[in-house]
């Protein structure tokens, strides 16, 4: 008995020594299972080996992170060293002073990183976040169906409308996909339509906004019925099961639609231009260090490691993510090349949405306006005037509070 206890004690001691001897880096990310697998198998071990440390990674959804970090900082118990966050949810982190100022380290960002991507992490003159994963919406289309009906991928709003009409005439049901499930997917899509019509989305009732809703109202009868259930993930399914012949989505869909569903006939291109310009919503994630993180130095090394060419090459080849640096595209498979050409084309006309505290209210108002105008078929101008007023009230309220 004594021996067993001694052995157990030794075992616990050895295990304890093992973790005491190494630095531990605590990382928070919001990833899918497939993405975690690549991180844990291909990326984290490289860093652990290089820096003789251990990475403990946790899943936290982007929408929950601000609240969680706020609780940690106010309790003075920050148990995370580095995190990734959706670039549309950064303002509250800065406004509530939950993140470290990284301005002093800006010159460490690799020079190969696209300059516009660095701007996402800048608030006034200070840099709080480093870029690591850009995203831009591209347009997927079913080439087989387009060939069958002798159609070309639409390059303008008028062509898009014609394509929609043709599918409906031929099949009796709409085949264009628009993400109308609500929330961020719907807003990201309508936001870029408004910008491409020359509108200012926060205004709601300027000419660009009105033109966009007039166009959407014309397009609505030609949409697939599944549009109401379409968001980022379901859009891939609807494209794969041919409920949609054309729809926009992030490039992560490439691997799912082509590799998992085996739908080689689904191709991609950058998309269409509006009456004033071509515009594609740029999304993505950045990396930051929480205020009071215990392992700031190692966290910074980890951020720079994720921006390295080596890691970015793994991300593009294994996950199909667009990259923050152009010199890492060399590793993509041949079948992925046309899709990444579409990504690069779309990024040329990329639009960054402003990081504002009232983004949540804006999303809510825009979703409601879409629902009332498209689904409930209400008059465009009175609805947009109402939301213009609501938006102005909210902006004033936030500005007064700050």
């Amino acid at each position: 008995m004594k021996r067993i206890i001694t052995l157990l004690f030794l075992l616990v001691f050895i295990c304890g020594c093992r973790s005491v001897g190494k630095d531990v880096l605590r990382v928070v990310m919001g990833l899918t299972e497939e993405e975690w697998q690549v991180m844990r198998q291909d990326i984290f071990p490289l860093f652990e080996k290089e820096h003789d440390c251990r990475i403990k990674a946790y899943q936290v959804e982007a929408q929950d992170w601000v609240r969680k970090l706020e609780a940690m900082v106010s309790a003075n118990k920050v148990t995370v060293d580095v995190f990734s966050q959706d670039n549309m949810r950064l303002y509250p982190l800065v406004a509530k002073k939950l993140v470290e100022d990284l301005t002093a380290y800006v010159d460490k960002i690799p020079s190969q990183i696209t300059p516009s991507m660095k701007e996402v992490g800048v608030f006034r003159t200070r840099t709080y976040f480093f870029p690591y994963r850009p995203n831009v919406q591209i347009t997927y289309y079913n080439q087989k169906k387009f060939n069958e009906y002798n159609l070309k991928p639409p390059k303008t709003w008028d062509e898009l409308l014609k394509v929609g009409k043709r599918f409906k005439e031929a099949e009796g049901v709409g085949r264009l996909g628009l993400k109308l499930w609500g929330g961020s997917p719907t807003v990201a899509q309508v936001y870029e339509l408004i910008v491409s019509a020359g509108g200012e989305p926060f205004e709601f009732n300027d000419q660009g906004c009105i033109d966009t809703f007039v166009f959407l109202k014309k397009l609505y009868p030609y949409l697939s019925v599944d549009s109401k259930k379409a968001k980022w993930d379901t859009t891939n399914t609807y494209l794969a099961n041919e409920s949609f012949y054309l729809a926009q989505n992030w490039p992560f869909g490439v691997n799912i639609i082509v590799k998992e569903y085996g739908k080689n006939e689904i191709k991609a291109y950058s998309g269409w231009r509006g009456p004033k310009r071509e515009a594609h919503t740029v999304g993505g994630e950045v990396l930051g260090i929480p205020k009071g993180a215990k392992n700031k130095e190692l966290a910074l090394k980890f951020i720079l490691f994720l921006e390295s060419r080596e890691v970015q090459e793994i991300l593009v080849s294994k996950l199909g993510w667009p990259l923050v640096r152009q010199d890492a595209y060399g590793q993509i498979a041949e079948w992925q090349e046309p899709y990444f050409e579409a990504v690069e084309e779309a990024l040329k006309e990329g639009v960054y949405r402003p990081n504002v505290l009232y983004w949540g209210d804006f999303e809510k108002f825009l979703n409601e306006a879409i629902m009332r105008i498209l689904v409930n078929q209400e008059e465009i101008k009175p609805v947009l005037n109402q939301y213009h007023q609501k938006m102005q009230d909210v902006i004033i309220a936030y500005e007064t509070r700050c």
């Binding site: 929408q63 009796g172 049901v173 929330g183 019925v225 599944d226």
Partner: protein, 288 residues
Amino acid sequence: MRRAANFKDYRFELLLILPLALYVIGFTLGPIIYAILLSFQEQFTNNFSLKNYYQIFSHFQFKNALINTFAITILSLILELCVGLFLAVLLTRRFIGKGLLRALMLLPLGVPTIVSAANMRYIFDSQGYLNEFLSRLHLINLPIDWTGGGGLSIFTLALADAWKVTPLVMLILIAGLETIPLDLFEAARVDGASFWQAFRRITLPLLKPFITIPLIVRGIDAFRLFELPLTLVGSSTPVLSTYTYFEYFQYNNPYTAAASAVILLIMIIISATIYLKISRERKSIYNL
């Protein structure tokens, strides 16, 4: 003095229930009270007012959610009671394979709601099994949008909910049916009563107390439907719980979300009070 002595006598028992009491206070009562307080606080000033309630009651999606919640509850209750009663009557009769049928009927009860919701999506999707089936029978030319909003979605949700919980209603009704003395049916048969007459004059009146229980318990449950509408219809057919969820998680407004949650809480409290009142009355009637 006596009360103090009582506390001393039961010190150990009190110590035993303390963790549970703390758990209930910390994780149930605390959040409820916090949500109620939050529902009266204004978003920008933190002043106490009814503004959040005014805001949600003037919001078209909240009105839709309220109407949808009631419509789904009523429709699913009707479906569950009708089908549950039919199955209960069927399963109290003697026939070959009755045991197997009863086991099969109870299967949906064991399926997690989120799994049943995902399965229902396969059935009711525009490219789902139901549309495919109807199309193969040449009953439809174009797919029906079962989950795209409106009355059809309400019906789909009620049907999906009924599939999951009808076995529970059926079990309660079977228990009720088994309390009815067989002599009554015997006497009715001797008097020449048909099956339908016996059902109307004997079964239904004597089963009434057993119908009330699932009616209220399921009513409360139907108000709380969440995973099913979220997965099956998303925001196209909001109910109170999904409306609250969207307000909180999608639009980052905990204040209006709390107000909506409080309305749901009030509806559940009213239903629970009715249930408790009826149970108490029944206990006094049966001298239990």
